[in-house]
């Protein structure tokens, strides 16, 4: 292991690294050391490691190309209790013991559970500033002085943005002194919040932004007790200031992907911020002013810079002279047209370009181990575009810049193409004050302090494609446009030759811009290449592809937050649930409810248990927890009139104390819900709904009452959870209820079917007992206040013990109801089924109007060949039809053919001693006795169409 101060690439002084804090780390199995303050990338470069895996498709050697989120190459997987894929070496802060493996484009999801905490915060603010560089700091300072609530979001561990990398002065002192003063003032403001290590990743409607905060990632991979690892901030801001900066573009030339080809700004960042020299002998290639600072920084750090290649024939004299004074040869009107090197760059080939970007004159080769490239600046307009703000192409800047805002937002500084420090400070102060003002906190614009730096930079000369020394664009397979996707000028040319003109089509054809980096650095360069190959005058004619969130990759664990495992979705249980658990019930989810599906006895599977439970209900006595059925109190003098409008059948004249089954339709005539409604008093009904539809039915009733029939004096209230319901079913049920409710006369004459009685149970618990049956058997439903639910259930089980009372679950319930042809809304119906299709003309009133009635006269609803509910008996009584199986008319029909319908419910019946099914079949009631066929992968199942009521068609058993 080398000691940190002797690392080949580490400068002896300077930078924002802590030389007293050496950190050990491993990369691809090799041990290295770095310093606190390093990123993984800067530490690798300090150790002379190129820092990237070979490219995904072509296995070409690649190296670290940038110093930030725009990095296309340096992907790593971080080891830990739950390893993290697809991390960028350029944004991973180094910690002691960090273990990383380089990735060629694809990470590996760790199947181990993630033991770290993730949480969310929801915050409303007056002003949100995104970006902690000079413009963002100025905006936050101006806004914060107004007293407005301000949130400043910055993705780095420390504020400062470009001031961390550039040697600028503000107020006669180093720029970072000013940053420190601003931070101190902001921190003292009671309503200002600074979020560091936080990336704004999405900008949605009504100024709603998502910010991902990395709280403990820099401390290592292990969960920190009491602290969430990452936090997702949901921010709603009255005004937003986007100070997101800009990304330096690459230049497209032959061999531009070799390790050692790096963004010029990144080189400056490595030298000045991290005290790392990424090369000893560097050539600089630029289209603009900014890379001159890189050349000078390299020289100041002790590197040799034999040449600075500027595409502009006449760069600003001041810059050229400063470079020459530092011993750098400036080659004007030229470009790097090729590189040499296998594992990394060893030389560049330089040639002059004419006004049409064609190579003129001889090509000269110059040895080097680093090529610093500046293709100009692309404002980071991702969030702006997500906010639906428009872009325009600025010819003078050769960049897409924000144009018209679509929300309450301003873009400032480099994010809108302002590239000088003074301009950024002016911009930030003005926008911060404006944002506070518009949010209701008037404040004056602070004066911009004196600062270093030139006036706005001079005009760049973009060269979108540096020609190859040989061949045509179609041949240029080493002119890389998107490094991560290994896409080249030749690939774009192929797309153009295939006839594509839209940048969106070319993106999808070539996959340019679709990798983890979403083309942050290369996007505009790609547009430039496409414009050249299409013969467009400027990239502005081509435009950009759509920017979508998230701006940086996010982990699903962060998006999930605490809503995973038990907290993923609320779990609803009935009052009787503990008994079910204690007695070994297997549960199924019905909506959010846990319902017992069956109660297996030792050695029983589902099938055996269900046959036993069904037999008990048909031959003895069985008990089911029906508490989950939706229950709605409908109260008011107009309750009867209201129910008459929402149910297809009449309820206004239902006698007090009686119950009636009803069907609800949408106005289009399709069945929406069903259930039994009981009239408790003149103006008080209690409606039951299907378990899964309870909330939707309540919504439906409220909607009609509020929006269409406000004149009806009716109130509806969900009472589902206030009542526990115990269904006692079977020929033995009367004896059990007699024992349970000694005051009640349970004879058929005194207590007929579809009536209810209020009584007091032997236990003293007040109860409402109804004679309702969903099985066709004699049955009683005992309703008690839910806090008596468990005790009442237990007393039923005790009272039933002498009769062998058997608890049954939803599966047996389904079989019992299907044997009677009772449909389940949502299983035997699907929103295209009318009551008539279900064979329920009897439930559709001829006298009154109701929702859906008009639709029964629509030609489509009145068709004779509509799918109708029928029973099916498989010809082989042992064969079970799968639910969902399509049905056809002939055993040997060839696909494609029109299905007659499909199986909706299918079971084994203890009572019938065979399998049976319910199905929706076209013109089904005309087909009774016919055979239909279900062609299935394992063969064709034949079944006979029957009436849907297969058990006790005369209905004699309910009064047994």
């Amino acid at each position: 292991m080398t000691t940190p101060h002797r690392l080949p690439g580490r400068l002896p002084s300077g930078g924002r690294v802590d030389r007293s804090a050496p950190l050990r780390f491993s990369y691809d199995g090799v041990q290295y050391t770095g310093l606190r303050g390093d990123t993984l990338a800067s530490a690798l470069l300090a150790n002379g490691v190129p820092g990237a895996a070979p490219s995904l498709h072509r296995r070409r050697p690649r190296g670290i190309a940038t110093a930030g989120v725009e990095e296309p190459n340096a992907l790593v997987q971080l080891d830990g209790p739950c390893s993290e894929p697809m991390q960028l070496a350029t944004t991973v802060e180094l910690y002691d013991g960090l273990t990383a493996t380089s990735l060629s484009g694809l990470g590996r999801l760790d199947p181990a559970p993630d033991g770290s905490g993730y949480d969310k915060m929801h915050v409303h603010t007056d002003v949100l500033v995104v970006g902690g560089g000079p413009a963002g700091l100025a905006a936050a300072l101006a806004a914060g002085r107004s007293g407005a609530r301000v949130v400043l979001v910055d993705d780095q561990p420390e504020l400062g943005g470009s001031l961390l990398c550039d040697r600028e002065e503000i107020d006669g002192a180093p720029g970072l002194d000013w940053v420190h003063a601003v931070r101190t003032e902001l921190s003292a403001q009671p309503d200002t919040r600074i979020l560091s290590r936080s990336t704004a990743t999405g900008y949605y409607d009504h100024n709603y932004l998502l910010v991902a905060e990395r709280r403990t990632d820099h401390l290592g991979p292990h969960p920190v007790p009491g602290v969430s690892r990452q936090r997702l901030w949901h921010l709603r801001a009255r005004r937003v200031v986007l100070a997101t900066g800009s990304h330096e573009r690459p230049i497209v030339f032959a061999g531009n992907d070799l390790p050692g080809v790096m963004s010029a700004a990144a080189v400056r960042s490595y030298v000045n911020r991290y005290a790392v020299l990424p090369g000893r002998r560097a050539v600089v290639l630029t289209t603009n002013d900014h890379a001159y600072a890189t050349a000078l920084a390299l020289v100041a750090a002790g590197a040799e810079v034999p040449a600075l290649v500027d595409t502009r024939p006449e760069p600003p004299t001041g810059l050229v002279e400063a470079a020459r004074r530092a011993g750098i040869e400036v080659r004007c009107g030229s470009a790097v047209v090729g590189t040499r090197g296998d594992a990394r760059i060893t030389a560049v080939r330089i040639a002059a370009l004419d006004a049409d970007d064609a190579i003129t004159g001889p090509v000269r080769e110059l040895p080097c181990d680093l090529l610093a490239v500046s293709g100009g600046w692309s404002p980071a307009v991702q969030l702006w575009s997500q906010s639906q703000g428009t872009l325009r192409y600025d010819e003078a800047l050769a960049a897409f810049v924000p144009d018209r805002a679509a929300q309450q937002v301003d873009s400032v500084g480099a994010a809108r193409g302002v590239l000088d420090l003074g301009g950024c400070l002016d911009d930030g102060f003005a926008a911060g004050a404006r944002a506070a003002d518009l949010a209701g906190f008037p404040v004056s614009v602070p004066a911009t302090p004196p600062h270093s730096g030139e006036a706005p930079p001079s005009r760049p000369r973009p060269v979108w494609i540096v020609p190859g020394e040989e061949g045509e664009p179609g041949d240029w397979q080493e002119h890389f446009v998107d490094l991560q996707r290994d896409a080249t000028v030749a690939d774009v040319q192929r797309a153009v030759r295939a006839g594509m003109r839209s940048v969106e089509h070319i993106k999808r054809y070539t996959t340019i811009g679709t990798a983890h980096d979403q083309g942050k650095a290369s996007g505009v360069a790609s547009t430039g290449v496409i414009a050249r190959l299409l013969g467009a005058r400027s990239p502005g004619e081509v435009g950009t592809t759509t920017f979508r969130g998230p701006y940086v990759p996010l982990s699903f664990a962060l998006l999930a937050g605490r809503e995973r495992g038990r907290l993923f979705d609320p779990v609803r249980t009935t009052a009787i649930h503990p008994w079910h658990v204690e007695h070994g019930a297997r549960f199924e989810n019905v909506g959010q409810w846990k319902r017992p599906r069956y109660y297996p006895q030792p050695g029983e599977d589902l099938e055996a248990a269900v046959l036993r439970e069904c037999r008990a209900a048909r031959e003895g006595v069985a008990v089911m927890d029906a508490s989950t059925l939706g229950k709605i109190d409908v109260i008011g003098p107009d309750a009867g009139a209201f129910l008459n409008r929402v149910y297809t059948n009449g309820f206004a004249r239902l006698a007090v104390g009686s119950a009636r089954y009803g069907v609800m339709c949408r106005p289009d005539g399709m069945v929406f819900d069903d259930g039994v409604t009981l009239r408790l008093a003149e103006g008080h009904y209690i409606m039951t709904t299907t378990t899964g539809n309870a909330a939707a039915v309540l919504d439906w009733l409220e909607e009609w009452l509020q929006t269409e029939w406000p004149e009806l004096r009716v109130r509806v209230t969900s009472v589902t959870e206030q009542w526990a319901t115990v269904a006692v079913v079977g020929p033995g049920s009367r004896a059990v209820v007699t024992a349970l409710a000694p005051d009640l006369d349970v004879s058929n004459d005194a207590f007929p079917f579809m009536t209810a009685r209020e009584t007091r149970l032997a236990s003293g618990v007040p109860a409402r007992i109804c004679r309702i049956s969903f099985s066709g058997e004699l049955a009683f439903e005992i309703n008690v206040a839910s806090w008596y639910g468990l005790a009442t259930w237990e007393s039923v089980v005790r009272a039933g013990a002498p009769y062998g009372i058997t608890p049954y679950g939803t599966e047996a319930m389904h079989v019992l109801r299907a044997e009677k042809g009772y449909p389940i809304v949502g299983q035997d119906t699907d929103g295209t089924v009318t009551p008539q299709d279900l064979g329920m003309e009897w439930v559709v009133s001829k006298q009154k109007d109701f929702l859906g009635r008009r639709s029964f006269r629509r030609p489509d609803t009145a068709r004779g060949d509509r799918r109708q509910l029928v029973g099916l008996l498989p010809v082989d009584p042992a064969v079970l039809l799968p639910e969902g199986a399509q049905l056809v008319a002939s055993a040997d029909v060839a696909a494609p053919t029109r299905a007659l319908g499909h199986v909706t419910s299918s079971y084994r019946s203890a009572a019938l001693g065979r399998t049976f099914a319910l199905a929706l079949v076209a013109g089904g009631r005309e087909r009774l006795g016919e055979t239909v066929y279900a062609p299935l992968p394992g063969g064709v199942i034949a079944a006979t169409v029957t009436d849907s009521v297969l058990y006790d068609p005369k209905g004699t058993r309910r009064d047994a």
């Binding site: 106005p667 289009d668 909607e703 509020q706 004149e711 009635r853 639709s855």
Partner: protein, 98 residues
């Protein structure tokens, strides 16, 4: 996600609300008097403008009241909000229009 000003509760996140489609599509006074085409129009046909659109929302996870909103379908800007107040049967319902 929209920030919707419920007329009774104030500004709340969109996820507290249910969307109710186009506003001012009243249930016909006498459906039986309508032709199949007219009834089909009521059932199935709604406007889909690019621009201001009067629509219904209910504050499902709040006060559970229905109200009308005029929303710009391109920018999602909410231009007006109006509660649907219970009124007597013979009075016209309050109506907001783009």
């Amino acid at each position: 996600m929209l920030l919707i000003a419920c007329p009774w509760c104030g500004e709340r996140e969109e996820l507290e609300f249910h969307y109710g489609g186009q506003a001012h599509v009243p249930y016909p006074a006498d459906p039986s008097a309508l032709s199949d085409a007219e009834w089909g129009e009521y059932l199935f046909v709604r406007d889909n403008p690019k621009g201001p659109f009067a629509e219904r929302w209910s504050h499902a996870a709040g006060c559970r009241r229905w109200f009308d909103v005029v929303r710009h379908t391109v920018t999602h800007e909410i231009l007006a909000v109006q509660g649907v107040r219970p009124v007597a049967a013979d009075q016209p319902r309050p109506v907001i229009t783009p």
